[in-house]
């Protein structure tokens, strides 16, 4: 699935001057299967990019197209289907359910598409060294552990694009590497692409494309 941002300018960022390479106010194409880094300092609109691209907010000028279709025309049910099967997200604030256990958080997402068995989910947690947290409530985990749970949750669905908003901000280098390996493998297996927003750090990964804000 190709995503096109056509002269998109979010209202809160309208007063800021954006350069010719910025994704704001220009024509940007996110082509299928690409691994893209969106690099910008704080306050430039990385989270805005995430929320605008997946239809959580519509306070912007311009158009965003999924395979030539304006996303502002999607119905709530269509968005549900897209978020279940085409675009997955790791939110900056993670959006986990703190009163549910890790198991429940993952199964709640996984049950929408039955992507993995429970054992496979545990194996993914194991790869990120948090399989021992399976029965623990997310609310009592550290931010780094919660980030890893959020990543596994985002992978527990079929997708064509994975959008991650500073997903490693609380992880050390080793854990970031483990996460990137898992994400890369899962994304490549599906022939999908991803967009990773960072504060300038490429985490030692070779991206196909770099975007700026």
């Amino acid at each position: 699935m190709q995503i096109i941002l056509n002269n998109v300018l979010p209202t809160p960022l309208a007063s800021i001057q954006h350069g010719p390479q910025s994704i704001w106010g220009n024509h940007i194409e996110l082509n299928s299967g690409k691994k893209i880094m969106l690099n910008a300092s704080s306050g430039k609109g990385k989270s805005t990019f995430t929320t605008v691209t997946i239809g959580l907010r519509n306070d912007y000028d311009g158009t965003i197209l999924y395979d030539d279709r304006d996303i502002s025309t999607f119905s709530p049910e269509e968005w549900a289907n897209i978020r279940q099967r085409k675009v997955s997200v790791v939110f900056q604030d993670l959006q986990l359910f703190p009163k549910l256990t890790v198991q429940e958080n993952l199964l709640l997402k996984n049950s929408l598409t039955d992507t993995y068995s429970e054992m496979e989910l545990i194996q993914q947690l194991e790869a990120l060294e948090i399989d021992n947290k399976w029965k623990q409530h997310c609310g009592i985990l550290s931010m780094g552990q919660q980030q890893r749970v959020a990543i596994v949750r985002a992978l527990a669905q079929p997708y064509e694009w994975l959008i991650m908003d500073e997903p490693f901000s609380h992880l050390d280098k080793e854990n970031t590497e483990r996460c990137l390996n898992l994400i890369h493998q899962r994304t490549v297996d599906q022939g999908a692409g991803f967009v990773l927003t960072t504060l300038g750090e490429d985490h030692g990964y070779t991206f196909d494309q770099e975007l700026k804000l």
């Binding site: 997946i54 959580l56 709530p76 049910e77 549900a80 289907n81 978020r83 279940q84 099967r85 997200v89 939110f91 959006q95 986990l96 359910f97 009163k99 549910l100 429940e104 199964l107 709640l108 997402k109 049950s111 929408l112 949750r153 669905q157």
Partner: protein, 393 residues
């Protein structure tokens, strides 16, 4: 799991308070509707309910005795009374404009004869509903409705004469005879008559309108018939206003009719009050639950928003809230019915011990009202859930 996420961490105390409120409202609704229907059925049979019908005439004063003021009604006056919003209908009571005598014509009954005056009124004003109360020129017997006071008077006469008294049924088997004549007695006709019912509404012998027209056409001296009495039917719960009208227009009615009118008006008003309270009770109880639903959705705003963001369809979340509250209301309705049956047992006993043998069967109206309330609540809860979910979308 979705149920656990959305409903497990709610404030149980608030849910229980909301359920108690709704339960009380529902119980009150079923009980009050049931007894409203039962008392209504009981009241209809006993003529307690329904429109207030009274016969009125103008008060006779010294000036009217001296022919200075009129005691008859003009058509304009009748129209004026009829135009009042609390008046359902007004009809003149037509009297005979010829001489009539009434006598027994049965060998089994001693002879009794009296000059009488007869009247006719629209049958809809009468407490006697009998399809036989009609007459045409070829009929040999005139069906008549007697004032109950007449039977009492007849029995007093029988008793004083040492003759056995007669019951209602027996009186209806006795043959009577009318003698119709003109003023100078030059023209006479005898017509058989048979009682078909007794009324408390009117104090004269009532004949069908066609018979009165026949008598007036053939035996009157041609003078215009004056309307001195009218039947007024007022709205059940507004008898006070009818009374004010009578006072303002110098009209009077029988005291007993006025008392019955006031009682009927009061009963009618009480019915409206109870019905109003029942409707408010169920409205408030539904509102309490809907408000609790809104509160629950507000508390779960983060959960709902996140579910939508990770791909849960809005319909599925709406359905969760909807089904949850429909189930709760179902439990409340079942509890309400159970408590209603317990109340009903004691209230029926109480009525019976007071000599009021109200039918103890279940009223479909009360169950129907509950189903109606359930449907309304179902619709309201669906709309509330939909609105709440899309607010987070």
């Amino acid at each position: 799991m979705l149920n656990k996420l959305l409903f497990k961490n709610q404030d149980r105390k608030q849910l229980i308070i909301a359920m108690i409120g709704a339960f009380m409202g529902i119980t009150f609704l079923i009980t009050s509707i049931h007894y409203l229907i039962k008392v209504n059925e009981f009241g209809e049979g006993a003529d307690i309910l329904g429109p207030n019908t009274i016969m009125v005439q103008k008060k006779v004063s010294n000036s009217s005795s001296l022919n200075l003021t009129r005691t008859d009604f003009s058509l304009k006056e009748l129209e004026k009374i009829k135009s009042e919003p609390f008046i359902l209908d007004v009809k003149p009571v037509v009297s005979n404009n010829f001489d009539v005598s009434f006598e027994t014509a049965d060998p089994l009954v001693p002879r009794f004869r009296s000059d009488v005056f007869i009247q006719t009124v629209d049958p809809k004003f009468l407490d006697v509903k009998n399809p036989l109360w009609k007459w045409n020129k070829n009929d040999t017997v005139v069906p008549i409705i007697m004032p109950r006071e007449f039977l009492v008077m007849l029995n007093t006469f029988m008793s004083a004469s040492g003759i056995p008294q007669v019951s209602d049924d027996l009186a209806m088997d006795i043959n009577f005879k009318f003698t119709l004549s003109n003023e100078d007695n030059s023209k006479k006709e005898w017509v058989d008559a048979r009682i078909i019912g007794f009324t408390n509404e009117v104090s004269s012998i009532l004949v069908p309108e066609s018979f009165m027209a026949y008598g007036n056409d053939n035996f009157s001296d041609g003078t215009e018939q004056k309307i001195t009495q009218v039947m007024i039917s007022g709205k059940e719960s507004e008898f006070g206003r009818v009374e004010e009208l009578l006072e303002a227009r110098g009209l009077e009615s029988k005291n007993a009719q006025m008392v019955v009118g006031r009682l009927k008006s009061m009963v009618g008003t009480l019915f409206l009050v109870v019905l109003g309270i029942s409707v408010i009770a169920v409205f408030v109880s539904g509102l309490v639950l809907i408000q609790y639903m809104q509160l629950l959705m507000t508390r779960n705003a983060y959960e709902v928003r996140t579910l939508l963001r990770i791909g849960y369809p809005p319909k599925e979340i709406i359905q969760k809230f909807f089904i949850y509250f429909v189930k709760i209301f179902g439990i409340i309705a079942l509890m309400g019915i159970a408590i209603f049956f317990i109340f009903k047992y004691f209230l029926d006993e109480m009525f019976a011990s007071g000599g009021l043998y109200i039918d103890t069967g279940i009223t479909f109206g009360s169950i129907g009202t509950l189903i109606f309330a359930y449907i309304i609540f179902t619709f309201a809860s669906y709309q509330t859930a939909k609105k709440g979910i899309f607010r987070e979308y």
